[in-house]
Symmetry: C2
Subunit: 143 residues, 2 copies
């Protein structure tokens, strides 16, 4: 999760939403990514899945774990299931936009359901996001 947080900090430096994701297999890092703008599908999880599938030349990431700093949205949750990720570890819960423990709770409709562990380094993960949105709000109020 610390590597995913590093990715989120990289996003923050580029004025992108600070969310990071890492896919590992055992002790090997397969891919890592952070949110980017100008493409609504370019969430950290989606980019990490696409990178990993390209690297391994396969659409199925059996025996991999994903670490992501925020609870995945329904789009990413479904992609994680399609990719057959074995375990999902996420940081902050997302009551408004999450699709794992919140909202549509997508995994109940999926044929592959990864093991899910939420709230990993939650304080650090959510601190990054709160800081970003507070800054954005201050910017919007002044412009």
């Amino acid at each position: 999760m610390e590597l995913a947080i590093e990715q989120a900090k990289l996003a923050q430096k580029n004025n992108e939403v600070p969310i990071g994701a890492v896919i590992v297999s055992g002790s090997n890092i397969i891919s890592s990514a952070h949110n980017t703008s100008n493409d609504p599908t370019a969430h950290a999880e989606m980019l990490a899945i696409r990178q990993a599938c390209k690297l391994l030349s396969t659409p199925t990431l059996y025996d991999t774990d994903m670490y992501v700093t925020l609870e995945p949205c329904p789009m990413c949750a479904q992609a994680i299931s399609f990719a057959r990720v074995k375990r999902l570890y996420f940081g902050a819960y997302n009551p408004k936009g999450g699709g794992i423990e919140n909202g549509a709770k997508i995994l109940q409709f999926c044929s592959h359901i990864p093991e899910v562990y939420g709230g990993i380094l939650e304080t650090e993960c959510s601190f990054l996001l709160k800081g970003f949105f507070e800054k954005l709000r201050d910017f919007t109020n002044c412009h």
Copy 2:
């Protein structure tokens, strides 16, 4: 929808799942795509959204309509909402994997809800998919 069906037929020629999507703005075609393999996120709708956003250098496709030959899955449904597509026209209904009228019915959880019209050229759209999966089943049974 006929252009989306053409995309699905292109996929079929390449032994990909025959699903096609087109994004239009008025009478202008912005992007068109079909499913591709080796990447679980590469559904026709996702590729069409990514192409359109790249072309227009924006993450929001206001005043666009999407035509897709199959009811979008939850991943694509959420992406369609994120992209602010105005109207969604789909062909065949997908009771097993769909996320619009079936399964998680994702749009009820979304902040942007496109107008939705299902069953457009439904017979032709589903005929393509049935043919593909029958061929796949025959192949699997023989190998």
